[in-house]
Symmetry: C2
Subunit: 205 residues, 2 copies
Amino acid sequence: MNAEKIPDIIIARLPVYLRALQRMADKGLQTTSSQDLGERVGISAAQIRKDISQFGEFGKQGTGYSIPYLINKLREILKVDRMWDVIIIGAGDMGHALARYQGFADRGFHVVMVFDNDKNKIGHKIGDFIIEDTSHLVEKVKSAGIKIALLTIPATVAQEITEKLVEAGVKAILNYAPISISVPKDVKVQHIDPATHLQRMTYYL
Amino acid sequence: MNAEKIPDIIIARLPVYLRALQRMADKGLQTTSSQDLGERVGISAAQIRKDISQFGEFGKQGTGYSIPYLINKLREILKVDRMWDVIIIGAGDMGHALARYQGFADRGFHVVMVFDNDKNKIGHKIGDFIIEDTSHLVEKVKSAGIKIALLTIPATVAQEITEKLVEAGVKAILNYAPISISVPKDVKVQHIDPATHLQRMTYYL
DNA sequence: TAGATTGTTAATCGATTAACAATC
DNA sequence: TAGATTGTTAATCGATTAACAATC
Protein backbone atom coordinates (compact mmCIF):
# COMPACT_ATOMS: atom_id res chain seq x y z
CA MET A 1 0.00 0.00 0.00
CA ASN A 2 1.89 3.05 -1.21
CA ALA A 3 1.41 6.69 -0.31
CA GLU A 4 0.31 7.97 -3.69
CA LYS A 5 -3.26 8.95 -4.25
CA ILE A 6 -5.27 6.06 -5.65
CA PRO A 7 -8.00 7.14 -8.10
CA ASP A 8 -11.53 6.88 -6.83
CA ILE A 9 -12.55 4.75 -9.76
CA ILE A 10 -10.09 2.04 -8.74
CA ILE A 11 -11.35 2.02 -5.15
CA ALA A 12 -14.87 1.62 -6.52
CA ARG A 13 -13.89 -1.58 -8.34
CA LEU A 14 -12.19 -3.28 -5.39
CA PRO A 15 -15.43 -4.21 -3.58
CA VAL A 16 -16.63 -5.83 -6.79
CA TYR A 17 -13.46 -7.94 -6.96
CA LEU A 18 -13.81 -8.77 -3.29
CA ARG A 19 -17.39 -9.89 -3.72
CA ALA A 20 -16.48 -12.16 -6.64
CA LEU A 21 -13.54 -13.61 -4.71
CA GLN A 22 -15.77 -14.38 -1.75
CA ARG A 23 -18.20 -16.22 -4.03
CA MET A 24 -15.24 -18.20 -5.39
CA ALA A 25 -14.04 -18.97 -1.87
CA ASP A 26 -17.57 -20.17 -1.02
CA LYS A 27 -17.21 -22.67 -3.84
CA GLY A 28 -13.91 -23.86 -2.42
CA LEU A 29 -11.70 -22.41 -5.16
CA GLN A 30 -8.14 -21.67 -4.11
CA THR A 31 -6.60 -19.64 -6.92
CA THR A 32 -7.66 -17.38 -9.74
CA SER A 33 -6.05 -15.34 -12.51
CA SER A 34 -6.70 -11.83 -13.73
CA GLN A 35 -8.25 -13.46 -16.78
CA ASP A 36 -10.62 -15.65 -14.77
CA LEU A 37 -11.61 -12.93 -12.31
CA GLY A 38 -12.07 -10.50 -15.17
CA GLU A 39 -14.54 -12.78 -16.92
CA ARG A 40 -16.53 -13.15 -13.73
CA VAL A 41 -16.88 -9.42 -13.11
CA GLY A 42 -16.88 -8.18 -16.70
CA ILE A 43 -13.61 -6.22 -16.51
CA SER A 44 -10.47 -6.71 -18.63
CA ALA A 45 -7.63 -8.80 -17.22
CA ALA A 46 -5.16 -5.95 -17.80
CA GLN A 47 -7.24 -3.59 -15.73
CA ILE A 48 -7.57 -6.04 -12.86
CA ARG A 49 -3.81 -6.55 -12.75
CA LYS A 50 -3.22 -2.82 -12.89
CA ASP A 51 -5.76 -2.10 -10.15
CA ILE A 52 -4.41 -4.74 -7.79
CA SER A 53 -0.78 -3.81 -8.43
CA GLN A 54 -1.44 -0.32 -7.06
CA PHE A 55 -1.34 -1.84 -3.60
CA GLY A 56 1.44 -4.39 -3.84
CA GLU A 57 2.53 -7.56 -5.59
CA PHE A 58 -0.14 -10.01 -4.52
CA GLY A 59 0.09 -12.47 -7.40
CA LYS A 60 2.58 -15.04 -8.68
CA GLN A 61 3.71 -15.27 -12.28
CA GLY A 62 2.53 -18.50 -13.83
CA THR A 63 -0.08 -19.31 -11.18
CA GLY A 64 -2.10 -16.18 -10.54
CA TYR A 65 -3.56 -15.06 -7.22
CA SER A 66 -4.33 -17.03 -4.06
CA ILE A 67 -8.01 -16.37 -3.40
CA PRO A 68 -7.85 -16.34 0.43
CA TYR A 69 -4.73 -14.18 0.38
CA LEU A 70 -6.19 -11.66 -2.06
CA ILE A 71 -9.43 -11.53 -0.05
CA ASN A 72 -7.43 -10.64 3.05
CA LYS A 73 -5.44 -7.98 1.24
CA LEU A 74 -8.53 -6.37 -0.26
CA ARG A 75 -10.22 -6.40 3.14
CA GLU A 76 -7.26 -4.60 4.65
CA ILE A 77 -7.12 -2.05 1.86
CA LEU A 78 -10.84 -1.34 2.08
CA LYS A 79 -10.66 -1.37 5.89
CA VAL A 80 -13.31 -4.07 6.14
CA ASP A 81 -10.95 -6.40 8.01
CA ARG A 82 -12.84 -5.01 11.03
CA MET A 83 -16.51 -4.43 11.92
CA TRP A 84 -18.11 -1.03 11.40
CA ASP A 85 -21.15 0.01 13.39
CA VAL A 86 -23.82 1.53 11.16
CA ILE A 87 -27.17 3.18 11.85
CA ILE A 88 -30.36 3.25 9.82
CA ILE A 89 -32.46 6.40 9.66
CA GLY A 90 -36.04 5.72 8.65
CA ALA A 91 -38.05 2.70 9.77
CA GLY A 92 -40.12 2.27 6.61
CA ASP A 93 -40.09 -0.75 4.31
CA MET A 94 -36.55 -0.12 3.13
CA GLY A 95 -35.31 0.51 6.67
CA HIS A 96 -36.92 -2.77 7.73
CA ALA A 97 -35.29 -4.69 4.90
CA LEU A 98 -31.87 -3.24 5.73
CA ALA A 99 -32.26 -3.83 9.47
CA ARG A 100 -32.79 -7.51 8.70
CA TYR A 101 -30.28 -7.76 5.86
CA GLN A 102 -28.04 -10.80 6.23
CA GLY A 103 -25.31 -9.58 3.90
CA PHE A 104 -23.68 -7.06 6.23
CA ALA A 105 -22.16 -9.28 8.92
CA ASP A 106 -19.59 -11.07 6.76
CA ARG A 107 -18.63 -7.96 4.86
CA GLY A 108 -17.67 -5.71 7.73
CA PHE A 109 -20.87 -4.04 8.91
CA HIS A 110 -23.11 -4.27 11.93
CA VAL A 111 -26.37 -2.39 12.36
CA VAL A 112 -26.58 -0.95 15.88
CA MET A 113 -29.47 1.54 15.89
CA VAL A 114 -32.57 2.45 13.92
CA PHE A 115 -34.14 5.91 14.08
CA ASP A 116 -37.45 7.39 12.98
CA ASN A 117 -39.34 10.59 13.71
CA ASP A 118 -42.80 8.99 13.70
CA LYS A 119 -44.25 8.90 17.24
CA ASN A 120 -46.21 5.77 16.31
CA LYS A 121 -43.03 3.91 15.47
CA ILE A 122 -40.67 5.13 18.19
CA GLY A 123 -40.29 2.52 20.94
CA HIS A 124 -41.53 -0.32 18.77
CA LYS A 125 -39.30 -3.12 17.63
CA ILE A 126 -37.86 -3.64 14.18
CA GLY A 127 -35.92 -6.88 13.95
CA ASP A 128 -33.75 -6.83 17.07
CA PHE A 129 -33.85 -3.06 17.48
CA ILE A 130 -36.06 -0.62 19.30
CA ILE A 131 -36.82 2.32 17.05
CA GLU A 132 -35.33 5.48 18.51
CA ASP A 133 -36.39 9.08 18.20
CA THR A 134 -34.59 11.11 15.53
CA SER A 135 -34.44 14.03 17.97
CA HIS A 136 -31.80 12.10 19.93
CA LEU A 137 -29.84 11.28 16.82
CA VAL A 138 -26.95 13.72 17.19
CA GLU A 139 -26.13 12.91 20.83
CA LYS A 140 -26.47 9.13 20.42
CA VAL A 141 -24.44 8.91 17.24
CA LYS A 142 -21.77 11.24 18.57
CA SER A 143 -21.34 9.39 21.85
CA ALA A 144 -21.24 6.01 20.13
CA GLY A 145 -18.66 7.30 17.64
CA ILE A 146 -20.62 6.07 14.64
CA LYS A 147 -19.21 6.98 11.23
CA ILE A 148 -21.63 5.30 8.82
CA ALA A 149 -25.34 5.90 8.24
CA LEU A 150 -27.98 4.45 5.90
CA LEU A 151 -30.63 6.97 4.94
CA THR A 152 -34.08 5.57 4.10
CA ILE A 153 -36.26 8.63 4.58
CA PRO A 154 -38.38 10.82 2.26
CA ALA A 155 -36.56 13.19 -0.09
CA THR A 156 -38.13 16.20 1.64
CA VAL A 157 -36.24 15.63 4.89
CA ALA A 158 -33.06 14.04 3.52
CA GLN A 159 -30.91 17.20 3.48
CA GLU A 160 -31.99 18.22 6.97
CA ILE A 161 -31.17 14.80 8.45
CA THR A 162 -27.91 14.73 6.50
CA GLU A 163 -26.86 17.90 8.28
CA LYS A 164 -27.59 16.30 11.64
CA LEU A 165 -25.53 13.28 10.66
CA VAL A 166 -22.61 15.47 9.64
CA GLU A 167 -22.87 17.35 12.92
CA ALA A 168 -22.80 14.00 14.73
CA GLY A 169 -19.53 13.07 13.03
CA VAL A 170 -20.81 10.65 10.39
CA LYS A 171 -18.37 10.40 7.46
CA ALA A 172 -20.10 7.96 5.12
CA ILE A 173 -23.74 8.04 4.05
CA LEU A 174 -25.57 5.50 1.94
CA ASN A 175 -28.52 7.45 0.62
CA TYR A 176 -31.71 5.65 -0.42
CA ALA A 177 -33.73 8.87 -0.72
CA PRO A 178 -34.37 9.95 -4.32
CA ILE A 179 -32.50 13.25 -4.03
CA SER A 180 -28.89 14.40 -4.26
CA ILE A 181 -27.64 15.44 -0.85
CA SER A 182 -24.89 17.98 -0.15
CA VAL A 183 -22.12 17.23 2.33
CA PRO A 184 -18.72 18.70 3.29
CA LYS A 185 -15.92 17.25 1.23
CA ASP A 186 -14.60 15.01 3.99
CA VAL A 187 -17.93 13.13 4.00
CA LYS A 188 -18.60 10.45 1.38
CA VAL A 189 -22.01 9.73 -0.10
CA GLN A 190 -23.23 6.84 -2.20
CA HIS A 191 -26.67 6.96 -3.78
CA ILE A 192 -28.84 3.86 -4.08
CA ASP A 193 -32.01 4.67 -5.94
CA PRO A 194 -33.82 1.89 -7.81
CA ALA A 195 -35.64 4.23 -10.19
CA THR A 196 -32.44 6.07 -11.12
CA HIS A 197 -30.67 2.78 -11.75
CA LEU A 198 -33.52 1.57 -13.94
CA GLN A 199 -33.44 4.83 -15.89
CA ARG A 200 -29.81 4.17 -16.75
CA MET A 201 -30.96 1.11 -18.66
CA THR A 202 -34.20 2.20 -20.36
CA TYR A 203 -32.23 4.38 -22.77
CA TYR A 204 -30.94 1.19 -24.38
CA LEU A 205 -34.28 -0.60 -24.63
CA MET B 1 -31.14 13.45 -30.38
CA ASN B 2 -28.45 12.66 -32.92
CA ALA B 3 -27.33 9.36 -34.35
CA GLU B 4 -23.82 9.25 -32.87
CA LYS B 5 -23.05 6.89 -30.05
CA ILE B 6 -23.46 8.61 -26.70
CA PRO B 7 -20.99 7.40 -24.06
CA ASP B 8 -22.44 5.25 -21.32
CA ILE B 9 -21.09 7.54 -18.65
CA ILE B 10 -23.20 10.41 -19.96
CA ILE B 11 -26.35 8.28 -20.00
CA ALA B 12 -25.61 7.35 -16.39
CA ARG B 13 -25.65 11.01 -15.34
CA LEU B 14 -28.93 11.94 -17.02
CA PRO B 15 -31.17 10.21 -14.43
CA VAL B 16 -29.33 12.16 -11.73
CA TYR B 17 -30.07 15.42 -13.51
CA LEU B 18 -33.66 14.36 -14.02
CA ARG B 19 -34.09 13.52 -10.35
CA ALA B 20 -32.72 16.90 -9.28
CA LEU B 21 -34.92 18.72 -11.79
CA GLN B 22 -37.98 16.91 -10.49
CA ARG B 23 -37.13 17.99 -6.93
CA MET B 24 -36.81 21.57 -8.21
CA ALA B 25 -40.13 21.30 -10.02
CA ASP B 26 -41.69 20.01 -6.77
CA LYS B 27 -40.55 23.25 -5.14
CA GLY B 28 -42.17 25.26 -7.93
CA LEU B 29 -38.95 26.43 -9.56
CA GLN B 30 -39.26 27.32 -13.25
CA THR B 31 -35.71 27.73 -14.53
CA THR B 32 -32.18 26.65 -13.68
CA SER B 33 -28.68 27.09 -15.06
CA SER B 34 -25.86 24.62 -15.57
CA GLN B 35 -24.19 26.34 -12.61
CA ASP B 36 -27.19 25.90 -10.31
CA LEU B 37 -27.96 22.34 -11.36
CA GLY B 38 -24.29 21.47 -11.06
CA GLU B 39 -24.13 22.63 -7.46
CA ARG B 40 -27.16 20.55 -6.61
CA VAL B 41 -25.80 17.32 -8.04
CA GLY B 42 -22.09 17.88 -7.45
CA ILE B 43 -21.03 18.02 -11.10
CA SER B 44 -19.28 20.87 -12.94
CA ALA B 45 -21.37 23.32 -14.94
CA ALA B 46 -19.25 22.69 -18.04
CA GLN B 47 -19.95 18.99 -17.88
CA ILE B 48 -23.66 19.47 -17.48
CA ARG B 49 -23.80 21.76 -20.52
CA LYS B 50 -21.72 19.32 -22.53
CA ASP B 51 -23.85 16.33 -21.52
CA ILE B 52 -27.15 18.04 -22.31
CA SER B 53 -25.89 19.47 -25.60
CA GLN B 54 -25.30 15.95 -26.92
CA PHE B 55 -29.04 15.72 -27.44
CA GLY B 56 -30.00 19.16 -28.67
CA GLU B 57 -30.06 22.82 -27.74
CA PHE B 58 -32.39 22.83 -24.78
CA GLY B 59 -31.18 26.00 -23.07
CA LYS B 60 -31.25 29.74 -23.73
CA GLN B 61 -28.22 31.98 -23.48
CA GLY B 62 -28.64 34.44 -20.66
CA THR B 63 -31.47 32.61 -18.92
CA GLY B 64 -30.53 28.93 -18.68
CA TYR B 65 -32.90 25.97 -18.92
CA SER B 66 -36.66 25.76 -18.44
CA ILE B 67 -37.12 23.09 -15.78
CA PRO B 68 -40.37 21.56 -17.12
CA TYR B 69 -39.01 21.58 -20.67
CA LEU B 70 -35.73 19.95 -19.70
CA ILE B 71 -37.58 17.34 -17.62
CA ASN B 72 -39.65 16.43 -20.67
CA LYS B 73 -36.61 16.21 -22.90
CA LEU B 74 -34.69 14.02 -20.47
CA ARG B 75 -37.71 11.77 -20.05
CA GLU B 76 -37.90 11.33 -23.81
CA ILE B 77 -34.18 10.64 -24.12
CA LEU B 78 -34.23 8.09 -21.30
CA LYS B 79 -37.50 6.63 -22.63
CA VAL B 80 -39.28 7.17 -19.33
CA ASP B 81 -41.92 9.37 -20.97
CA ARG B 82 -43.90 6.10 -20.88
CA MET B 83 -44.59 3.40 -18.27
CA TRP B 84 -42.49 0.23 -18.15
CA ASP B 85 -43.84 -2.94 -16.61
CA VAL B 86 -41.33 -4.53 -14.25
CA ILE B 87 -41.27 -7.78 -12.31
CA ILE B 88 -39.71 -8.64 -8.98
CA ILE B 89 -38.08 -12.03 -8.44
CA GLY B 90 -37.77 -12.91 -4.76
CA ALA B 91 -40.42 -12.16 -2.16
CA GLY B 92 -38.10 -11.60 0.78
CA ASP B 93 -37.67 -8.37 2.72
CA MET B 94 -36.13 -6.52 -0.19
CA GLY B 95 -38.74 -7.81 -2.62
CA HIS B 96 -41.43 -6.63 -0.23
CA ALA B 97 -39.90 -3.19 0.08
CA LEU B 98 -39.65 -2.86 -3.70
CA ALA B 99 -43.17 -4.17 -4.30
CA ARG B 100 -44.45 -1.36 -2.09
CA TYR B 101 -41.98 1.30 -3.23
CA GLN B 102 -43.73 4.60 -3.99
CA GLY B 103 -40.94 6.05 -6.10
CA PHE B 104 -41.52 4.04 -9.27
CA ALA B 105 -44.86 5.36 -10.50
CA ASP B 106 -43.79 8.92 -11.26
CA ARG B 107 -40.50 7.87 -12.79
CA GLY B 108 -41.74 5.50 -15.44
CA PHE B 109 -42.09 2.10 -13.77
CA HIS B 110 -44.93 -0.14 -12.71
CA VAL B 111 -44.53 -3.41 -10.83
CA VAL B 112 -46.80 -6.05 -12.37
CA MET B 113 -45.72 -9.42 -10.93
CA VAL B 114 -43.76 -10.88 -8.03
CA PHE B 115 -42.21 -14.35 -8.18
CA ASP B 116 -40.71 -16.70 -5.61
CA ASN B 117 -39.80 -20.38 -5.57
CA ASP B 118 -40.84 -20.95 -1.95
CA LYS B 119 -44.00 -23.11 -1.78
CA ASN B 120 -44.94 -21.40 1.49
CA LYS B 121 -44.99 -18.02 -0.20
CA ILE B 122 -46.54 -18.83 -3.58
CA GLY B 123 -50.20 -17.82 -3.70
CA HIS B 124 -49.91 -15.43 -0.77
CA LYS B 125 -50.24 -11.69 -1.16
CA ILE B 126 -47.46 -9.14 -1.09
CA GLY B 127 -48.82 -5.62 -1.33
CA ASP B 128 -51.31 -5.83 -4.19
CA PHE B 129 -49.72 -8.87 -5.79
CA ILE B 130 -50.15 -12.59 -5.49
CA ILE B 131 -46.78 -14.26 -5.35
CA GLU B 132 -46.29 -16.46 -8.39
CA ASP B 133 -44.23 -19.59 -8.88
CA THR B 134 -40.80 -19.07 -10.43
CA SER B 135 -41.34 -22.17 -12.52
CA HIS B 136 -43.86 -20.19 -14.58
CA LEU B 137 -41.50 -17.27 -14.95
CA VAL B 138 -40.38 -17.77 -18.54
CA GLU B 139 -43.83 -18.26 -20.05
CA LYS B 140 -45.48 -15.44 -18.08
CA VAL B 141 -42.74 -12.90 -18.72
CA LYS B 142 -42.50 -13.81 -22.37
CA SER B 143 -46.22 -13.56 -23.01
CA ALA B 144 -46.49 -10.28 -21.14
CA GLY B 145 -43.54 -8.89 -23.10
CA ILE B 146 -41.74 -7.71 -19.98
CA LYS B 147 -38.29 -6.25 -20.49
CA ILE B 148 -37.23 -5.25 -16.96
CA ALA B 149 -36.66 -7.38 -13.85
CA LEU B 150 -35.59 -6.68 -10.27
CA LEU B 151 -33.64 -9.54 -8.75
CA THR B 152 -33.85 -9.92 -4.96
CA ILE B 153 -32.82 -13.54 -4.52
CA PRO B 154 -29.85 -15.30 -2.89
CA ALA B 155 -26.49 -15.17 -4.69
CA THR B 156 -26.51 -18.95 -5.14
CA VAL B 157 -29.47 -18.90 -7.54
CA ALA B 158 -28.90 -15.51 -9.17
CA GLN B 159 -27.12 -16.75 -12.29
CA GLU B 160 -29.64 -19.52 -12.89
CA ILE B 161 -32.61 -17.15 -12.64
CA THR B 162 -30.77 -14.61 -14.79
CA GLU B 163 -30.60 -17.17 -17.56
CA LYS B 164 -34.33 -17.74 -17.32
CA LEU B 165 -34.93 -14.02 -17.53
CA VAL B 166 -32.74 -13.72 -20.60
CA GLU B 167 -34.60 -16.63 -22.18
CA ALA B 168 -37.85 -14.83 -21.43
CA GLY B 169 -36.69 -11.74 -23.30
CA VAL B 170 -35.76 -9.48 -20.37
CA LYS B 171 -33.24 -6.82 -21.44
CA ALA B 172 -32.60 -4.91 -18.21
CA ILE B 173 -31.88 -6.42 -14.80
CA LEU B 174 -31.52 -4.58 -11.52
CA ASN B 175 -29.57 -7.04 -9.40
CA TYR B 176 -29.80 -6.89 -5.59
CA ALA B 177 -28.00 -10.22 -5.11
CA PRO B 178 -24.40 -9.86 -3.88
CA ILE B 179 -22.85 -11.48 -6.95
CA SER B 180 -21.83 -10.38 -10.43
CA ILE B 181 -24.13 -11.94 -13.00
CA SER B 182 -23.23 -12.70 -16.63
CA VAL B 183 -25.55 -11.76 -19.46
CA PRO B 184 -25.41 -11.51 -23.27
CA LYS B 185 -24.20 -8.12 -24.41
CA ASP B 186 -27.63 -6.90 -25.47
CA VAL B 187 -28.83 -7.22 -21.87
CA LYS B 188 -28.04 -4.45 -19.36
CA VAL B 189 -27.37 -5.07 -15.68
CA GLN B 190 -27.14 -2.66 -12.78
CA HIS B 191 -25.96 -3.87 -9.40
CA ILE B 192 -27.42 -2.55 -6.16
CA ASP B 193 -25.59 -3.99 -3.20
CA PRO B 194 -25.55 -2.08 0.07
CA ALA B 195 -22.41 -3.78 1.42
CA THR B 196 -20.47 -3.13 -1.80
CA HIS B 197 -21.53 0.51 -1.76
CA LEU B 198 -20.45 0.85 1.86
CA GLN B 199 -17.10 -0.73 1.06
CA ARG B 200 -16.48 1.99 -1.50
CA MET B 201 -16.50 4.49 1.34
CA THR B 202 -14.69 2.71 4.18
CA TYR B 203 -11.37 3.07 2.36
CA TYR B 204 -11.57 6.80 3.09
CA LEU B 205 -12.50 6.53 6.77
C1' DT C 1 -28.06 48.05 -23.88
C1' DA C 2 -25.53 45.32 -20.23
C1' DG C 3 -25.34 41.10 -17.92
C1' DA C 4 -25.80 36.35 -17.96
C1' DT C 5 -25.39 31.95 -19.72
C1' DT C 6 -25.42 28.71 -23.42
C1' DG C 7 -23.12 25.52 -26.85
C1' DT C 8 -18.79 24.34 -28.61
C1' DT C 9 -13.87 24.12 -29.45
C1' DA C 10 -9.31 23.14 -28.12
C1' DA C 11 -6.33 21.89 -24.41
C1' DT C 12 -5.62 19.15 -20.59
C1' DC C 13 -6.02 15.48 -17.88
C1' DG C 14 -6.81 10.74 -16.68
C1' DA C 15 -8.03 5.92 -17.62
C1' DT C 16 -7.69 1.81 -20.40
C1' DT C 17 -5.40 -1.33 -23.34
C1' DA C 18 -1.72 -3.78 -25.54
C1' DA C 19 2.52 -5.71 -25.26
C1' DC C 20 6.21 -8.02 -23.16
C1' DA C 21 10.15 -8.93 -20.04
C1' DA C 22 10.42 -11.20 -15.77
C1' DT C 23 9.63 -15.20 -13.35
C1' DC C 24 6.97 -18.77 -11.01
C1' DT D 1 12.26 -27.11 -19.06
C1' DA D 2 7.88 -25.25 -21.18
C1' DG D 3 3.79 -22.97 -20.28
C1' DA D 4 1.36 -19.62 -17.87
C1' DT D 5 0.61 -15.35 -15.84
C1' DT D 6 2.15 -11.42 -13.34
C1' DG D 7 3.58 -6.42 -12.93
C1' DT D 8 4.73 -2.56 -15.60
C1' DT D 9 5.64 0.48 -19.47
C1' DA D 10 4.27 3.00 -23.36
C1' DA D 11 0.63 3.94 -26.55
C1' DT D 12 -3.99 4.76 -27.19
C1' DC D 13 -8.23 6.19 -26.16
C1' DG D 14 -11.72 8.83 -23.88
C1' DA D 15 -13.47 12.22 -20.56
C1' DT D 16 -13.19 16.64 -18.30
C1' DT D 17 -12.15 21.38 -18.05
C1' DA D 18 -11.29 26.04 -19.49
C1' DA D 19 -12.27 29.58 -22.42
C1' DC D 20 -15.04 32.33 -25.26
C1' DA D 21 -17.92 33.74 -29.23
C1' DA D 22 -22.73 33.81 -29.83
C1' DT D 23 -26.90 35.43 -28.28
C1' DC D 24 -30.94 35.77 -25.27
